[in-house]
Each structure stands twice: as C-alpha cells, then as structure tokens.
C-alpha cells in the first residue's frame, strides 16, 4: 500500500502520455480543425454570435439523446426508436398543451413519464427476454412513428404556450444591466465555469500526484488548462454578445456534467461498462446485468422525451414528421465519438464532441450552400472514417 507501489517505470512518462490519450485529444483536435475550416471557408460566419447560438439550439436535442444512446451502446445494445419517440412525445405534448390546455410544467412531467414508460416497455423485452435490441427498437420505431401520426390525426398542432417555447427559444434572465451588446450574467457564469474547471482539474491533479499516481506532464496540463479556459471564455464571449446563454444550453451542460460524472465516477456507471465489456463475467461478479440494461433503456426513453420536447418547443408546433432520422445522427455521434459497437467502450465527452462535429458540419455546409444530397454523403464518409481510425488505432 505504499506510494511506491503505484508509481510507474520512468520510460512511460512524458511523451507516451500523449500517445496513450491520442484518441481523446484527437477527437477535440478534429472538432477544432473542422470548426477552423468552416470558419475560414464561410468567411467567419460560423462563429458569428447569432450563428453560434443557432448551432447550439439546432443540436441540443441530438446531444441530449446522444447521452442516453451512449449508455445504451456501451451496454452493447442500440436504440433505433429514439427519433420516433421524440416525435411522438412532441405530439403528446402538443395535444396536452394545445388541445387540452394543460399547464406546461404538468405536461412536461407527464411527457417525461411517458418517455420513461416507453423506454421501460422496450427495455423489458431486451433485458429480461433477451430479444435483440435492434429488433425491439426497430419495432418501436414503427410503432411510435405511427402513434405520433395517430395522436396528431395527421395534422400539425401548434402553437405552444409561450412559457413552453421558452424551453428552446428562451435565454437565461438578465439580472444586470447590459454592457453594450454583452450580457453580463452569461459572462459571469461563463467566467466562473472556466475558473471552476481549471481549479477542479488542478486540484484533482495535485491530489493524484500526492498519492504518487502518474499525472500528465506539467507543461501539457498547463497548456490544456489554458486552452480549455480560453475556449470556454471565448465561447461565452461570443454567446454573450448575442442574447446570452440559451436556456437549453444550460440544461444540456447540466446533463453533460451529470452523465460524465455518472459514467466515470459512480458504481452504477462502472457496472454499465462492465455489462458491455463482458456480460457473463459481470453477472458472475454479482452485477444485476438485466436490471442495468433495463435501466439504460428507461433512461434513453426519458432523454428521448426531453429531446422531443426541446425540438417541439423550437419548431413551436408538433408535426407527424418530427424526429424522422434523428436516431441516425444520434448513433453516428456516439460512434464518431469513439464508442465501440461491441459495447464496453465509449465516453460521454466523446459522444458530445461527436454530436458537435456532426452539427458543425451540417451548419457549415449549409452556409456554404452544399446541397442536402452531398451533405449526407460527406457525413457518411466522416462516420466511416472516424470508426476506421479507431479500429486502426486499436490494431496498432
């Protein structure tokens, strides 16, 4: 139990640390490279405050669903129904709020509960009956697409009450007077966040170091922290110079932080990865594998419902077509982000970056005027390329 026991041979330190973490840095670097590329070819349109805000709004529901999908994929399953479920929940929300005039908080809670029930209904067959998730959720995809059509009776329903619209189109309340075009509350929150991030990572590093654990070299840590803080601050500045943080960004950030923590640091997170890594070994180690699989589907259902609400609020109407094809973007985001199709491998950060890569490409190509046809082609090739890169890395 001495500190010596956990220290490492000298030659593994330094440069090899970067090599061992190539995948994680590589992901971020490719996102930055893609952003830079579009920033240049769109003559700076990409990072204009208005466009950046739109980028967040446009991709929020994909990111939210990617968090749940990541857990599903990590357990070795897939959920093809999320797009239909999101559309269906949007329809239910519209009917509750527009037709029956039910209060917005009550309707939201009801929708999330319906989402959980949908996830439970699908997860039940997958987890306890061992029916392949591909089949169960393919069925779910058809069922909920059809139900959305039935609930809406084939028509678009809207508009939503203004309070509900605020979920997607609202911005956090401003408590201070504006400084020119800047929103001080958002600036304050962004700055605090940047400082908090640097502080916690420095504290974590010091704590690990005091126990003799290998930490990244100081120069690298410093560079990373400065870059991270810089990116957060710059992003904050851009957003604050439009209308401040959108409400949905706050929801998204909170969820990312929560799921990041759950996957990395909690018992349940560790157990989910164990189920995906080797379900039989996990089961014989006393892990309730069926229950965990069931849970990941329930969780997916809730997040799909939330995404459906966000999307409906953004469009301000529920249409029978809503949610079509979302599942593909969500699944692609997870795989671009380094999740393994065999289960057991994948990170929340990766899925988020994967979703942002897809989002930036969509947005950038649209600004450039690339047609929807070639956009699809390019996105497909990027997905294939990212997964090939992963496989190549593992063979090395």
């Amino acid at each position: 139990m001495t500190d010596k026991s956990v220290s490492l041979p000298e030659e593994r330190k330094g440069g090899s640390f970067i090599k061992n973490n190539l995948r994680n840095y590589g992901m971020l670097l490719s996102l930055l490279a893609i952003m830079l590329f579009f920033q240049v070819v769109t003559d700076g349109t990409l990072l204009q405050p208005l466009n950046l805000t739109n980028l967040v709004l446009q991709n929020s529901y994909i990111v939210i669903m990617a968090l749940g999908m990541l857990l599903v994929i990590v357990t070795g399953h897939i959920d093809l129904s999320v797009g239909s479920v999101a559309g269906f929940i949007g329809a239910v929300a519209a009917v509750l709020m527009v037709r029956y005039h039910i209060d917005f908080p009550l309707a939201v809670v009801a929708c999330l509960i319906v989402g959980a029930a949908i996830g439970a209904a699908q997860g039940y067959w997958v987890a306890f009956f061992g029916i392949p998730s591909f089949i169960v959720t393919l069925a779910g995809m058809l069922v909920f697409k059809g139900l959305a059509l039935a609930v809406l009776q084939g028509q678009s329903v809207g508009p939503f009450p203004p309070t509900f619209q605020k979920l997607s189109s609202g911005f956090i309340a401003e408590v201070f007077p504006d400084i020119g075009t800047l929103h001080p509350t958002s600036l304050l929150i962004g700055t605090t966040l940047a400082l908090a991030l640097v502080y916690t990572s420095a504290k974590g590093r010091a704590r690990e170091q005091s126990h003799g654990i290998e930490v990244e070299p100081y120069a690298l840590f410093l560079a990373k922290s400065v870059a991270l803080a810089g990116v957060v601050l710059y992003f904050t500045y851009l957003i604050a110079s439009y209308r401040g943080f959108p409400n949905v960004l706050v929801i998204m950030a909170a969820l990312i932080a929560l799921y990041g923590f759950v996957t990395r640091r909690t018992v349940i997170g560790r157990q989910i990865y164990a189920v995906g890594g080797n379900a039989k070994a996990a089961k014989l180690s006393g892990i309730k594998t069926e229950r965990l699989t069931f849970f990941t589907f329930v969780n997916m259902g809730v997040l799909a419902a939330l995404a459906g609400l966000v999307f409906a609020a953004r469009l301000n109407t529920a249409t029978p077509k809503a949610g079509t094809g979302f599942e593909l973007d969500v699944i692609a985001a997870c795989f671009i982000g380094g999740a393994s199709a065999y289960g057991g491998v994948g990170r929340v950060g990766g899925a988020v970056v994967g979703a942002m890569i897809m989002g930036v490409m969509n947005n950038g190509m649209s600004i450039m005027g690339v047609g929807i046809d070639y956009q699809q082609v390019i996105k497909g090739l990027v997905l294939l390329g990212a997964v090939c890169f992963d496989v190549y890395n593992q063979r090395r």
Partner: protein
Amino acid sequence: MLEMRGVSKSFAGVRALRDVNFTVNAGEIHALVGENGAGKSTLMKVLSGVYPAGSYEGTIVFDDEERRFRDINNSEALGIIIIHQELALIPLMSIAENIFLSHPPSRLGVIDRETVYRRTGELLAQVGLRESPDTLITDLGVGKQQLVEIAKALSKKVRLLILDEPTASLNEADSAALLDRLVTFREQGIASILISHKLNEVAKVADRITVLRDGRTVDTIDCRTEKVEEDRIIRSMVDRDLAHRFPERQAKIGDPVLVVEDWSVHHPLHPERQVIKNVDFQVRAGEVVGIAGLMGAGRTEFAMSLFGRAWGYNIAGRTKLDGREVHLSSVPAAIDAGLAYVTEDRKQFGLILADDIRKNITLASLDQVASHGVIDDIGELKAASDYRNRMRIRSQDVYQEAGQLSGGNQQKVVLSKWLMTGPKVLILDEPTRGIDVGAKYEIYTIINELAEAGKGVVVISSEMAELLGICDRICVMNDGAFVGEFAGKDATQEKIMRAIMRNERIARSVGQARRVGELQS
C-alpha cells in the same frame, strides 16, 4: 522431413525467437514444450506461413527444399496443417460441412453432397469418431470437436500435423483417445508436432521433446534412447529447480464452513433431467477439498448452482455457512454470504478483457471503494495495487488491460477480484488450466495461503496430479453424484479412476449412461 534453421523473429523490438533450430523427422511425434511466452506458438506460426517469409530470419527446409511460405495456403499445400487451441469450427454447421468448408468436392460450383457425405464418413472412421456426418458441431463435446478438426486436417492430405494444446480442455479419457490417434498416424507416416503443458502425456507419446525457453531451444530429448524425466523437462523449461511441484503446507483444519445437504439441480433446457442428484458436501475451515471427475460429471454445474443459482433449474437442497442456514438465491446473495467462484473459463466468464487490471479486481466489491455510489478513485487504485503486489501480478501497472496479460497473471487478477470480496469459501474451477508450470506453482502457493488464513477452498480439476498434490481431501464426482472420497494422503490416480469407472459400469448397466456434453448454457 522438416528442418528449421536459425529462426529469429522480433515484434517491435522484442525478440520472440532467437536462433531456433528445430527438426522433425518423417513419422515421428515431436513434442514442443515451454512456458507461456517461450515462443512455441510464434515458431509454429513461422512454420505455417502465418508470418510470411521475409518477416523472420532463418530458413525452413521441408522435403529437402528451402521453402518460403507467403501465407497459410502455401504450407497447407505441402501438407503442413496446424490445429489451433481455439478450434476453428462453425458451430451451426454439420461435421461434413465443416470438414469440406474451404474446398468442397463440387461440379460446376454445385457441391457434390454424396461425395462429401461418403468421404466424411471415411475420415470420421479414420479418427475413430462415431457420429453421423450430418451432426451439428454444437451438439458435440470439445473432445469430439477436436477429432473433427483432425479429420479436417486428414482431408487435406496432411503430412505434418501441428496441434497446439489439443488436450487443454479435454478430460483424461478423451486426451488418451486423442493421443492414441497420433500414434496411429505415426504408423501411417504422418508426423506430428505436439504443443502441450501436460508433461505426463508428452512423456507417454513423444519420440522427441524440444524445450523452448525465452525464444531459444534449450534442450532436445530423444525419448527412444533416454529416459524421460519430468523434472528434467521442468527444470529446462523454467530454469529453476522445481524439485517440488507443489508447495508444502501444514493443514490446520477447523469446523465446517460450508455444508450442503441433499442438493439437487435440473438442467435448464431439459427440466426433466436431474444433473446433480441429491448430493451432500462439506468444506471445513482451512481445508482444501478437491473434486475429481470426468468432463460432464457435473462438477461445474454443482459449483455454479451453489454460487447463487448461476446455473440450473429447479434447484433444491439446504446450504449452511458457519453453521447457519443461508439461502443463496442470487449471485449477489452468494457473494454477500461469503462464497466466491472462480470460473473455469476466465476469458469468457471471469474477466473483462478490454478493461484494466484495476477495474477487474474491484468489480465484485465496488461498494468497498465507494461511498454513496461514488467511487473513490484513489482508494480503488490503492486497493488494486495492493492486490497486484500481494498476488505478484506481473504487469506494467494496474492500468494494463487484462487481455494483454499471460494466463497465469490473468488468473491472479480473477483471484484478486474474489479475495477482495472477503469470502469464507472459494470454489476454484480448473484454476491452472492453460497456465505454465511456474505460474501454476504460484497459484498453488496462493491456494495454500488461503487455506492457512482459515478459508475453505474447493478445487475442481481435471488434472489428477494437481488434486493429489494440493488437496487434503478428494471427492470423486460422476454422473451428478459423489461416488468416492479419499483423504489426500491415501488417494492415488488409480483409486480415483477406479471409483469413476465402477460407477460408470453401474450406471451403464442400469441403462442410464449419458455423456453430458454441455456445460454452461
């Protein structure tokens, strides 16, 4: 017939083979032995062309001609056929389809089913397997599957058959049958290279034995002119004197920790079949109890049904731990009660190969290193490092992937995982399968330490020498019941085999003879 001269091969700077010389004469059985990582498999991959000419140094001469194999097809064309440890059969295809998978006799691309069927029948007769060519592979036991692989090799006009650990997962009877085949082939002029950890069988059939250590040939023994001594082989394999293959221990046996009464288990897929037949069993504190038996005797089924009903259907009986009746209704309940089960197949059921050592060790006892469901990463690291040191797991650090470790170190990781749960009774199922001699000794030492710490240890093993070497008491299981029990010092291989055979005869005369092939479902 075959001569490999000065073969060297490196992987990313690590020398796997150094100047190895290896010859095989026509019609001989040549055994290749060595610890895991000694270079046996690498040498055979060079020979079979898996590593193509140019990726190694040295020459291969076969039939007096230098050969430069580009891939495995080149070597197969000359009749050099390798059968890997992991069998390459397709489970849901028939024996005939598997044997003629790559080159089925056909006319205009349409498979000639009659010829396939007839030739399969001939080949099966040659290897002594009495099964219909239409039988699916999945319906055969491992021993028979091994014979199908050999029949497949015969279909390719084999001249040099390479078998990588063919008996690792076979029981003694099946192993003996397989080795008999090799002897028959020798008479027909087919040479074999036999890679094996089981020195007794090597000594029985081999004409010559070559020992590899650290990628070098260290010894070649001609069994026809010299007497083969296992100790000599072991010494050259490990380069250290293992006069005693089993560590000494003074048994201090206390009260019964685990008592099982009237235990009965049915097959989950065939509920009418009783796999474990109302058996009684007990382990005392500080005692090492062995369970001997043939494959399919029900040993693993018994152990797994005890371990929180992880296997079986309609399980009945009573279990007492430390004199108190307990209901081990689920795996978590069994772990909480103080039971641990180390599976016979550590890769499939024991480890998460893609995860690191640390995560594997703490997997069954995360609650110990977490509070309110949040893992204390430093506490976890310390616990894992502690076990890594105590169990002498050889790795760079606890962050190394379990899949990269050798068999012995993997087994130590699994043992660490179970020790961390603080068990009172450990059931070890084939704890040294596929592990080299040096690591086996270490596992035995760990077993002794566990017994000395007052734990009850149950060892299930198909290697009788091992049970005789480490157990205080040996129970013999056959056909789902205990048919004999011996004190460790009184037991001999003959006595154990006799107990099994007597029971087999009785069972057969009653008309109950059934070979239970399937293990875990």
